[in-house]
Symmetry: none
Subunit: 193 residues, 4 copies
DNA sequence: AATGAATGAGGATTCATTCAT
DNA sequence: GATGAATGAATCCTCATTCAT
């Protein structure tokens, strides 16, 4: 059984605190002190572990992407048909652990950050590529030749729903979100409803 | 012929400089000095005219929204059929004056800002409401009862494309964007391609 | 009949505005813009006439001192006895045109200013010397040898009452103030009450 | 033996530096940088401990008032008769630790500040009330019914001497000050000299 | 005479970051 | 491993002052 070092615990709780703080402030303009206070440690410790504020934020971003990845993976587990694969990606995108105000808020802010930080941009590119490849992979057998475009449409819609929900006042509604995208998928596949 | 006062000129150039600066920095974390320098004036003058940095940013946001509104209006000018109305909204959204790296970058940042600033949130709500009402208005005659959902799908896709292009490395491609959304519109209307 | 030039009018109204502004703000931390706005002119004009903010403040100080001097002079007009002379100074100090919240506030602030500005210190010294000489002049025939000390006591009491009223919440009460000092005068002269 | 934390030390030295700086500048228009430099720390630390410039100034004011209070208390220690009580207050007011150029300068500036800052006004009211109650308490047995007025006269004279000395070029002379007020007290009590 | 336009210099305040303990 | 103490650099904002018109 792996013993979790104190370092791992501290880092994890700082990352969690970062996401929570971004969510509660609705902005990346959070101070290291705020993060540290929320995590119940001193800000100096945050620097001790992460070296810089930027690294803290990037770690939070990585964490969010990994959660997302795990969620999609979980959905992909029992998949048999291509269609199910596409649906899995969609469902994973709107899983309860992702599709939350604070996470969306952080997500949105990372989009912004990616415009300045190469590392953030890289992470986001990885996510986009993975999403796309999953979608294309599932769509290719279903459509003749239009898989790329279809994937782009679906991905755009997912991102759009995210951003809109991040701004919206109410709680994100995963069901509605999923239905909307799957309806699009249906139409892409030529199934009239 | 309307004489433009120097105040109008300065305010306009400061707003332009703000958008340009946001675009070039890819972030709202720009200083008033940067804006002022780009506009060729002192930062004190920016404060003289706008009172606070926030007002400068909000003015820039208002400007972008007004450009967008004008663009949509222009597209709506010659419209005869409901279908054309929906297309007009889509085309307006991807018009050359909106669908530019710097504007998208500013747009994205305003989404973030709206999470903290009530005034920014209000402006964004106005935009969303107008977009939605235009879409629903055009879609209602075309679909039976599903207009609201369809509008949401289209709006989400537009926003998603925006955010993706803002991040993308290449130049935004309005044609591709328009095609993607119009294809979705076609499918929503049950026209198989 | 002397025609008052526009310059004289402007200067006077700026000085008045200065005193009013100091009174209303309760502080010398007033901006030239505030003064100018209150006087209904542009701040540039204030500089045109006075050259610097300091000169405006000093002019206001001179004005207050001249009002005070005039008030004392008026009281000294019908004086016949030494005792009346002393009383005249006291009454002049608490005349309605001096003993007002705004003037007291300005007065207090000039005391502060005098600590840094030699010119303000000089003006205040002139005031003090005149006050003292008037008092001593009246007291000398009334007391044997103690006139200087008595004058200092009276002057201190007058200043103290000023400062206390400047801080007090209610309106300055000239009658009470006068009575208090005159009672002191009576006692100095050995008249038991 | 109480261990003094570094925080206590820093706060104390910042407060001391504040008073010294006010004294040397003769004005409350001092920058936090000046205070901090005089205290040998960075201005950021001053903010760390006090939160705002205003709090620094108010702390300095509180400190001065507490010194004054302690001084009066010390004088009140061995008091037996009412007359001694009044004298104790007077002597305390002109004690060496209060009646110093820099402290008087600060005092004067606090009077000004009190016109804008409610908290400063409150502190000053507390001081005035305490002074007055001490005086009245001592005077009541000595005079029939005139204690209140007498107290006001004495308090005014004390304040007046303060303000005059604050402005004067020479060093404050506690002896002369005390004599002047005590002479007044004598006369108030009907003792002819 | 009068002002709108413009700015440089400066001040309060914040914050990422360092370091001795 | 952990932190309290400390700061340099930056940022928003103000204001006295200048000047062309």
């Amino acid at each position: 059984m792996p013993k979790v070092g104190i370092e791992t615990i501290r880092c994890a709780s700082l990352v969690q605190a970062t996401i929570a703080e971004i969510g509660s402030q609705g902005s990346l303009d959070i101070t290291v002190n705020q993060i540290a206070r929320r995590a119940g440690v001193s800000s100096a410790l945050a620097f001790h572990y992460f070296g810089s504020k930027d690294q803290i934020l990037l770690s939070a971003m990585r964490f969010i992407l990994s959660i997302y990845g795990a969620e999609v993976l979980r959905e992909l587990a029992g998949v048999r048909t291509p269609r199910q694969r596409v649906e899995a990606v969609i469902r994973g995108s709107f899983a309860a652990s992702n599709f939350r105000q604070d996470v969306i808020s952080a997500w949105l802010n990372f989009y912004v950050k990616a415009q300045k930080s190469p590392e953030a941009a890289r992470l986001l590119r990885v996510y986009k590529r993975r999403l796309r490849s999953n979608l294309v992979c599932g769509l290719r057998p279903l459509m003749d030749g239009k898989a790329e475009t279809a994937a782009e449409g679906i991905a755009s819609m997912i991102d759009g729903i995210y951003i809109r929900e991040g701004l919206g006042e109410g709680k994100p509604d995963p069901e509605r979100a999923t239905d909307l995208v799957i309806d699009y998928l249906d139409r892409l596949m030529g199934v009239s409803i």
